[in-house]
Symmetry: C2
Subunit: 257 residues, 2 copies
DNA sequence: AGAGTGTACCGTACATTGTACGGCTCAGGT
DNA sequence: ACCTGAGCCGTACAATGTACGGTACACTCT
């Protein structure tokens, strides 16, 4: 990162911003809300790294430093963006716990919804989430996602672990997908063209040593997906496997009960 | 990112560097090897983002631009660092497939080894891995990790998916742990102090709405781990669950056979 | 109505980044 | 002895986040 050291965001300040009511437009109509919205719009297109305070200010027709009246810095802005992105993840109508298919259906629903957010806003992967974990929307999300796991005989810690497992999987897979897309876009090459370009160099260079299993499997994967990875497939394969594993745990718990 | 646009690394150039033999010291003793080593040492301490070309050059007592004689840019340097970090992941003695406990033991071993690398070199999380997937060490790693899944009745694609699932889990969990550590270090606060600092603001602000399940579970987790997450626990919980799920798949396949 | 005050707004300045460009210096071949 | 090419590097530039200090407006109090 360039520029001044960007002194680590003050957690208390972030929290106040996150939960505060920022309904005071000021004399040029500038709002925290408007800033966050503009930033999200820009980040959706180019990523968090490429997003600059100047760009946000320009889009709002406002001096760069005016942003700092409403937001302490880029870090805190990212926190706000993060929380807002999860704003209306679950409308009342589609609460996970009201989904068909019991806990399993609910977790599948949760995974799909998170996947959607993550692919719509790939910059989320660049936000350090640890300190943000307590924004209003995130908390609401946590509550909604935990609910379908309640009353199955799991301990509280197990409930949290199970949910975290699913979410980590979704996030990791979505991240890989986002990276793939960004790499493609940056290089202007499709996955297939890229492969075709490096293939000769590779075979030349790999001729010395050889990798029987890796070669066979890698080729199979490449032919099957026309790419080195297929995020959508990875998502469902992993989710199925994880849910199968969780089913065993839940069964063992309810047997005891 | 600041500075000139850092034009997306040329894949072919990266590949050549990755597989080439760079044993020509030049007149000031500067080597690709030495550069990569220095960069890794610095990144281990401060992360990839904080690592600058100037820092690397200074540590090697060399002008900044001299680095560019050996390495096309920071992106490609990261690629090299990535591949090198996995350099001696598996010595001959401890090939995963020779581990006790069958495929399950092997996958546990693989998970643990990857975890070790990831916690020793947290900057790995910042490297865009998509284009690097084909360095010599990475390929060797892929081969070694695939082998224990061979001959179990899984299709080639399933073998790849199963491995990717485990690795994604390890990586996601390790990333969360790394973020936690970094946040702590940056703020100078331990997780507990941090909690104590924001707790009052939080309870004040959460009094309006309330979150029954989230509150209960969150509290339980906090008390159990003295933190909001415990990466080590998440790792083993997730791994167990995933392996249980994979066991079902493998059983169903060998039943047909 | 007039004076005073706080806050929104913003122009400028600075440190820091990656790297393009062009020059210098030396090893090795002829 | 001289040329050539490659290793080395000093300088310059565009871009970043944000500290600092100033300006102008909305409000309260007299």
């Amino acid at each position: 990162m360039a520029g001044r050291k960007a002194a680590a965001p003050d957690p208390a300040r972030s929290l106040a911003l996150l939960w505060g009511s920022h309904a005071k437009p000021g004399r040029s109509g500038l709002t925290v809300r408007a800033i966050v919205d503009a930033a999200i719009e820009l980040a959706d297109a180019e990523g968090l790294e490429a997003l600059s305070m100047r760009m946000v200010a320009d889009r709002l027709k406002v001096g760069t430093m005016s942003l700092y009246t409403h937001v302490p810095g880029k870090g805190e802005l990212a926190d706000l963006m993060f929380d807002r992105a999860y704003g209306d993840l679950y409308a009342d109508a589609d609460e996970p716990s009201k989904q068909p298919g019991g806990w399993r259906g609910a977790l599948e629903f949760i995974a799909r919804r998170n996947w959607e957010i993550l692919t719509a806003h790939p910059w989320i992967h660049e936000v350090p989430t640890m300190r943000t974990a307590l924004g209003p929307n995130i908390t609401r999300k946590y509550e909604a996602e935990l609910r379908p796991l309640d009353g199955l005989g799991l301990t509280d810690v197990e409930m949290d672990s199970a949910l975290a497992l699913v979410l980590t999987h979704v996030q990791g897979t979505a991240r890989a997908g986002a990276e793939q897309l960004r790499t493609q876009r940056d290089s202007g090459l499709t996955d297939e063209e890229w492969w075709r370009q490096i293939s000769p160099t590779l075979t030349t260079v790999m001729s010395g040593t050889h990798f029987p299993v890796a070669g066979r499997v890698g080729t199979a994967v490449g032919e099957h997906f026309q790419s080195v990875i297929d995020p959508a497939h990875a998502l469902t394969f992993g989710l199925t496997t994880i849910l199968d594993g969780l089913a065993q745990l839940i069964e063992s718990r309810s047997a005891v009960e």
